[in-house]
Amino acid sequence: MSEFSPQIAELDGFIDTLDSLEGKLIVVLHKAQNIVGWLPTEVQNHIAHRLRVPASKVYGVVTFYSFFNTKPKGKNKISVCLGTACFVRGSGDIADEFSKRLGIGVGETSEDKLYSLDSIRCVGACGLAPVVTVNGKVYGRVTVKDVDNILKDVGGNA
């Protein structure tokens, strides 16, 4: 038994529903990240074993796509859109502000595991640029001054 056994069992349940294992690596990785929150080595190895592909290939795919996380994420996931529209409307400064307030860089998780700060590329709401999402909730037309309020919002949750 390991730390991830229950999640791996859940993932196995999903893999068992697939009619074929060919070409399913990304689908399974999505599901795994959904269940575990990130993709620990143990989970990647397990997926390699189940899908009968080399672990190196799984790792290659995981590191290629920025969507996949190889480190645990915080309880609250703050993502700042750095897509073109958001960026020209100042989202870079917003990301910097979050970074300063949380004491972590983009792509990092705070030591108390409460916050993760990430950049994302376009959530398809360019009309609301610049956009920040917190645990899936979208904040539009965000300014540097709003960072405080957003963190207070989240704080109630933390």
Partner: protein, 577 residues
Amino acid sequence: MINVTINNINVAVEPGSTILDAAKQVGIHIPTLCHLDLHDISMVNKVGTCRVCMVEVAGRRALAPSCSTAVTEGMVIHTNTQRAVRARRTVVELLLSNHPSDCLICAKNRTCDLQTLAADLGVREIRYQGVHSKHPKDTSSYSLVRDPNKCILCRRCETMCNDVQTVGVYSAVNRGFETVISTAFDNPLLDTSCTFCGQCASVCPTGALTFVNDIPNVWGVLNDPDKFVIVQTAPAVRVALGEEFGLPVGTRVTGKMVSALRRLGFDKVMDTDFAADLTIMEEASELIHRLQNGGPLPILTSCCPAWVKFIEHQFPELLEIPSTCKSPHEMFGAVAKTYLAEKLGIDPKKIVVVSVMPCLAKKYEANRSELSEKEYQNVDYVISTRELAAMVREAGLTFNELPDEDFDSPFGESTGASVIFGTTGGVIEAAVRTANAWLTKSDSGKVDFEELRGMKGVRVATVEVAGTKLNIAIANGLGNARKLLEDVRDKKAEYHAIEIMACPGGCVGGGGQPTHHNDYSIIKRRANALFEEDREKPIRMSHLNPDIQRLYDEFLDAPYSEKAHHLLHTTYSKREL
């Protein structure tokens, strides 16, 4: 057929041909770097990433990569216009802008494709100053050294490891400038399922994949007056070493090799071929024992350390079936440090056994803990054919003018059966020769088992031995071995014996051999040279080797005896995938 014009020459080519294929047909050389098509072993690396082979196609605005552009009817191609050549040079300069310029001390100096290309294109300055990749070097293994900073991302190693060998150690990791060919989770090679076959290094065009250099260790013991250094040479070395000194491919240089080794200062120059005969005594006995005692069958040959590691990782459920015989050079080490030590009156701890091998996996094998006695390894150091050539050059020997000399006795005598160990099919043919003679109780029976020869990846033949039909399968290349093993595991095929060699073509195509520069006919010509040597040998069956007979009489009792088991056999263990 499709008609095209290349540099004003008309040529008709098969549909589906690339511009590169068509150019080759009319003798026009287009430089390539990432492209690699080893048709004989079904290895095609056609990723089209390096952009070195760019050519001009009339009517197209952009240059076309010739390796991955199919010809079309009436296509007009120019391969060496100023525009094409400039583009090529720019590509190479860009590659060099992120490449260490330590050619003088690089292991691939003089055999590096990138170096040759830069020279051919007359690159005299690198106009682009960019960031250099800084990845750690992987020196974890006993066999291979990975220096990702010299990697040009051609993906040849990945294709070789994943598609041909089906080992799957390498993958491109990360993206963009950060991309690196790495292992799963960037683990050191020693901790992966790498078999150390070294085929990745054989096809690597740069110094990104090279082998562990054991030359300093060997010079060290040669210059230590307290050590008695015995060298042994594998069969495949003698038919390839000459290439390093400009001799035609397939030249047999056995005598000159012996003479060179003596001049390098080895105390005894002996032959792994002798130990190959010893292996056959044990392996043929084991085969007969298993045939007569209800298995387990098939028996799998166990001479190839890369293949042994492959089955330990990939088919742990089949570890009952490989022969328990140590590989020949390990058997040599075992008897050298016991029987021979006693005969020479030398303390085994003072004896150093050096193996000259066509193989990089042997370096790893020599360090396996099973292959040792209490106080010492059976074999101390392994150098490759290329390392031996380097030592000969370092010592200033004029190899081609050396006299032909004979191996030292008593481990220098060998038979034709042992010579062919160096090529695919050779080990099993040698075993069948002796098994057949023993079971028919006649030494005048069949010697040439032509049905077992050839270069095809998987071969199956039925051989009649003393009235019994033996189904024999042979695989070279680990991808082919995997197919055979899956059939055995799933009980889809019934074989009595299987020979497996990890490298395409067998040991003649080993990872430690002189670089074949992507010409596979070289491997075949080396194999032919081994069969030539076999035909010329007065004795062609292992059990008739008089020195082998003496070894059993004086020391080992009988083949497959308890003493033989202790010294000459080994065990295997499951390894993680």
